[in-house]
């Protein structure tokens, strides 16, 4: 019977083209608005490391000496000593340090002027931990990291800019006057968000769009990065003034992130105990005031830091409220349409259609309106996402529709239309045949 209902729906929609157009438009506009914001929301709240995020943890101990509060969340980053202690203990399956800064980059054998680029000082585990893809070469070795070797990995974008995308492994970069040999070039890689440098998001939620920008252009070993760029690392939080402004290594400042990979729940428990034990030990030594530690997995850390900008959430809520209004409009239009056809419905009832048949026929018609609305909504969503891409936000160029959101567009559209059709269909199915046979 579905095919028959579909034929009838097509007939009916053709019979009242203006009414059909209005219903399709109402759904399309509602779907377009809500799917645009939902797609952005989906992109911003997705899992940047699917399949692995449950094994990646952000470790926190608290070196802050402020004792105003007996218990508090540790600072978002670690002081240098704690970070090095925890990292060098190698208690996790993998562990890596994260230090951000900006640097002036020159390629001596190119004619380009110096470029200001972001730099990540990290450890060799960073690449396998976060499944970072390489286009050319490879990461530096742990041994190179330990001896502060002048080596670097650069991004695909910087490689295109400086070397036209050619294999630049073995070529030289000059960073703050020092020559650094390129050992690897990344393939296109842009986790969304750039999760490993998310810190302090919950304090400045309005600017959390920054976490969806590009990854760093230059990556080098922590020791090398500090050798070359000391005094220029950020962000940081200090509770003591550094001896020399900006030089944070021996100061009471938190500026290093520590990510660990723990491959089993037992290892998570063990690592938490390790952190706790370390904090207690440091307190006994008089270096720590607080012994609170945290070990959140990747998604917990992103949620804790409220990485999805609040304006995106607000827009999504408003768009769905708008969709609700469109749904009510469609209910009204469908009701008008079905009641206008009460004569035909009465006749069908007289000729043997059950209430369920009439209900199903009306729902199929509503569903068809939903499919048409979905097509319109999909087009409007593409327009909406194009508009988002024109906005000055870090995530702008991420705003594209993927397959799952494409499917969801139609699913949502049909669902909305069927929901909108349910009440009118129920009313239509209760048509008393004898009353309406003369109104056909």
């Amino acid at each position: 019977m579905f095919k028959y209902y579909l034929q009838l729906a097509v007939h009916s929609l053709k019979r009242y083209p203006v009414l059909t157009g209005l219903m399709v438009l109402a759904i399309a506009v509602g779907i377009g608005a809500s799917m645009t914001t939902l797609t952005v929301m989906h992109l911003l709240s997705g899992n940047p490391m699917p399949g692995k995020s449950g094994k990646l943890f952000y470790a926190q101990v608290d070196a802050d000496t402020d004792n105003s509060y007996p218990h508090k969340d540790p600072l978002d980053m670690l002081d240098y000593r704690s970070a090095m202690d925890l990292w060098s203990a190698h208690k996790a399956d993998r562990q890596t340090l994260i230090i951000d800064s900006s640097v002036k980059v020159v390629a001596p054998d190119s004619q380009l002027p110096p470029l200001m680029r972001t730099m990540l000082s990290t450890t060799s585990d960073f690449f396998p931990m976060f499944d970072v893809p390489f286009q050319y070469g490879q990461a530096w070795t742990a041994e190179q990291g330990q001896r502060h070797a002048r080596v670097a990995v650069i991004s695909a974008a910087l490689n295109r800019k400086l070397f036209g995308g050619a294999n630049s492994v073995g070529r030289t970069l000059r960073i703050r006057g020092a020559d650094v040999r390129i050992v690897g070039v990344l393939a296109q890689w842009r986790p969304s968000p750039v999760f490993y440098k998310v810190v302090g998001g919950r304090f400045g939620a309005a600017t959390n769009g920054r976490f969806y920008g590009d990854t760093e252009d230059v990556m080098m070993p922590v020791g090398t990065g500090i050798d070359l760029n000391d005094g220029h690392f950020e962000p940081f939080t200090c509770w003591d003034l550094p001896e020399h402004a900006g030089h944070l290594t021996h100061a009471g400042c938190a500026w290093v992130g520590l990510w660990v990979q723990l491959d089993s729940p037992a290892k998570v428990t063990a690592y938490h105990e390790f952190l706790t034990h370390y904090a207690q030990q440091q307190k006994q030594l008089g270096r720590f005031t607080h012994t609170d530690v945290r070990l959140r997995d990747l998604m917990q850390w992103l949620t804790f830091n409220q990485v999805v900008p609040p304006d995106v959430k607000l827009q999504t809520s408003l768009a769905f409220a708008f969709l609700l209004i469109c749904l009510f409009n469609t209910v009204g239009l469908l009701l008008a349409k079905f009641l206008r056809r009460s004569g035909e419905i009465g006749l069908r009832r007289a000729l043997g259609a059950t209430r369920a048949s009439v209900f199903a026929q009306c729902l199929v018609e509503a569903g068809l309106v939903g499919v048409l609305g979905g097509i319109g909504g999909w087009v409007l969503t593409l327009v909406g996402l194009w508009a988002v891409r024109q906005q000055p936000v870090a995530y702008a160029n991420l705003a594209h529709m993927d397959l799952s959101m494409f499917a969801l567009t139609f699913l949502l559209s049909v669902l909305v239309a069927v929901l909108a059709g349910a009440l009118p269909a129920a009313r239509a199915s209760r048509t008393a045949p004898a009353l309406h046979l003369k109104t056909l």
Partner: protein, 238 residues
């Protein structure tokens, strides 16, 4: 075939009860052609809608083809309407945006019949009413008489046990009315049971039996009469 005993239909409002049918009894045998006559508002149409299971009744009993329909649910009533009853309405009641073929197909669709069987029945019934060449025409492209023939074909397609006709010639001119009436008589001669509601006494005389209704009650049942060719000719509209 159709037996109503002391049947009543009451429309109630907060302040008044209106009897549309009161102590209404009728017994239509299989193969009969019965005309139900009476003035406007006498309860003829109410009787027909109850007979066609389009409405429920308030009291009494109603047996259709041996089945007590008093307590049937809506699905069962729909099934009986679909399988046992054919309707012919004064206003034809064709669906305007379906062509002739699709209009005749409507009751067969709800019977869950296979496409080949549906096609066979539709073609046979349209052949029967002389419209097999108008399959793709829409109701608006047909004359009133042709539209009523399509409606009759739709009623016949499901091979119903009972044909209920409500003023089947009421919207037709004399010429067309004669054609439709002759068609009904032919169908009856082939064994169909027909109950026809009409306020036209002349038309009623062409039925085997007349039942006169006034104020919701059967007041007179004319004696059975047997059709003869001469009678048909005598009563045919000029």
């Amino acid at each position: 075939m159709l037996k109503m005993t002391h049947l009543s239909k009451v429309y109630r409002t907060e302040v008044v009860e209106t009897y549309a049918l009161r102590d209404f009894s009728i017994d239509v045998k299989e193969g009969e052609f019965v005309a139900v006559t009476g003035p406007s508002g006498s309860g003829k149409t109410t009787f027909l809608t109850i007979a066609g299971l389009l409405e429920t009744f308030t009291g009494g009993s109603y047996h259709l083809d041996g089945v007590d329909v008093s307590h049937l649910n809506d699905n069962a009533r729909s099934k009986i309407r679909n399988e046992k009853i054919g309707f012919i309405f004064q206003a034809f009641n064709l669906i305007p945006d379906l062509n002739v073929y699709d209009n005749v197909e409507v009751p067969l669709r709800y019977r869950g019949m296979k496409a080949a069987e549906r096609k066979k029945r539709i073609m046979e019934s349209l052949e029967r009413v002389g419209l097999s060449s108008r399959l793709k025409h829409y109701p608006a492209e047909l004359s009133g008489g042709q539209q009523q023939r399509v409606a009759i074909a739709r009623a016949l397609a499901g091979s119903p046990r009972l044909l209920l006709a409500d003023e089947p010639t009421g919207n037709l001119d004399t010429q067309m009315a004669r054609g439709v009436m002759e068609l009904l008589e032919d169908i009856h001669r082939e064994g169909a049971t027909i109950v026809m509601v009409t306020h036209d006494p002349e038309l009623a005389t062409r039925a085997q039996r007349n039942v006169h209704v006034i104020d919701g009650q059967v007041v007179d049942v004319a004696e059975d009469r047997v059709f003869s060719t001469s009678q048909l000719a005598e009563h045919s509209p000029a």
